[in-house]
Amino acid sequence: MAKEYRTMRNDVTLPYQWALGKTWSRFFDGLKDGRIQGTKCAGCGRVYVPARSFCPVCFTDTTQWVDVKPEGKILTWTLVREKYLGQVQEPPYVVALIQLDGSDCGFSHFIGGFDLSDAGQLKRKLKTGAKVKAVWSPVRNADIRDITCFVPVE
């Protein structure tokens, strides 16, 4: 940002250590073991992934853990071409909402595993409702990137 009037840089850098709490610690431990777990609300019966300590609709504690499949269907997606500061990866990449089989909500993650520059292939593979499955990272740190991305299932 070169400006013709007088400015000052004001860069704010701050360190954090975020607590996961019991439920999310267990969820990420599961990812490390190659399992995707949700919690089920005893009231409305919905299964949420990632797991929640309480039902976002009923406001009651969730106690039942369920394993959901590492595959599901695309609810919607976008191909990110825009570049911006501190971006999670180099564009282009695809971010999607995926409803995992056995769950009742959308799960935010990447879709990849094929050439994104090929417009034809992109349209063919990334249909709403199309099946995708998780690709596990070879290195697992018990975080959301233990799943590298989801890939279309032919």
């Binding site: 000052m8 701050l14 360190p15 975020w18 607590a19 709490g21 999310w24 300590s53 976002p56």
Partner: protein, 388 residues
Amino acid sequence: MGNAVAIIGTGQTKHGRRSDVCYPDLVREAVTAALEDAGITLKDIDGIVLGTMPSMMEGVSSTHFYFAEAMGSVGKPVLKVETCGSTGQSIGHCGFFWVASGMADIVLVVGSEKMSEGDGQATMTTVFDPFFQRTFAAGAPGVFTMQSMEWMYRFKIPEEKGREAAARISVSNHDNAMDNPHAHIRTRVTMEDVKNARIITYPVRLLDVCPASDGACAVIFATGEKARKICRKPAWIKGLGFRGEEFFYGESDKAIWMSATEAAAEAYRQAGIRNPLKELDVAEIYNPFTYQEMIFYECFGFCPRGEAPDYVLKGTFLKDGELPCCPSGGTLCSNPIGATGLIRLAEAALQVTGKAGARQVEGAKLALSHAMGGVDQFNGVTIVGSEL
């Protein structure tokens, strides 16, 4: 006074290092407790007010989004109000005005902070402007020390006397916190402990300073009509005031501290209080630093300027004194910043409704609560009473 508004329920988390829970769960703990205390459910809530200190204290901005479910706000109107350290009082004021406006019958107000997740002092440094003052900022201790030194010099308070009185405040707050199950720091300290504690910024020592806490507080406001129907013993809002001075530190006189003085004066005017020392039964003051608590006593008219140490040393503000201050153990023993001002209000409400448990001040009917924010820039005061 216009429309009557009362507090019908309060809830607090256990404050402290709460790395056992994620941030939304901490918030929900307070919300659930407040709903239980009021004996109502989320269905009864017409609107929700949230506030924290600065957004970046915990590295998630605009937390009303993140806490949407935890504060039970899905499908409901919300307001996000923030005024730095004074946030806790400001959100209480917002809850009051929402109900007083006639636009809602029952409003839930939530304040929270999870200090263990960020770097409090580094974050506070970003409150200073980047042009002139940030270079010399030394977090909260630096500022509060400068203010305390200026105050003692102005009123010719001998250093020894100031030290003695500040230590007494530390000891009594720590003693009081022993009665408060929510308090972060629950250890007794002696005068010697305080005077020999590690120096933070001279003359302020470790035991003169509040901890960095995780915690949340929720308070439920209702119209007079609803309050009488739902609640056996509501705490009535009698008066409130909020004032701020110039942004640059040093531009106004911090030994007199007009924002604190005038915020209290405004609240007193509304509550019809002329002699606060006599009329108030208890005060919950936002006291992150022992010395500063004495400046507040003076600003709030509890004693003449420059005489706070004398009053402290004769026990005026002890739990069995003429005007007990911070029977909860105060900010000095728990400081989840965005929640702290609301905790003061919740504690004041508990006192005037006789629900303060072991920290109850016998027969308390009229209580002052307070919070301070910015670089000594803002002060908010709310007065609650057992009668309208």
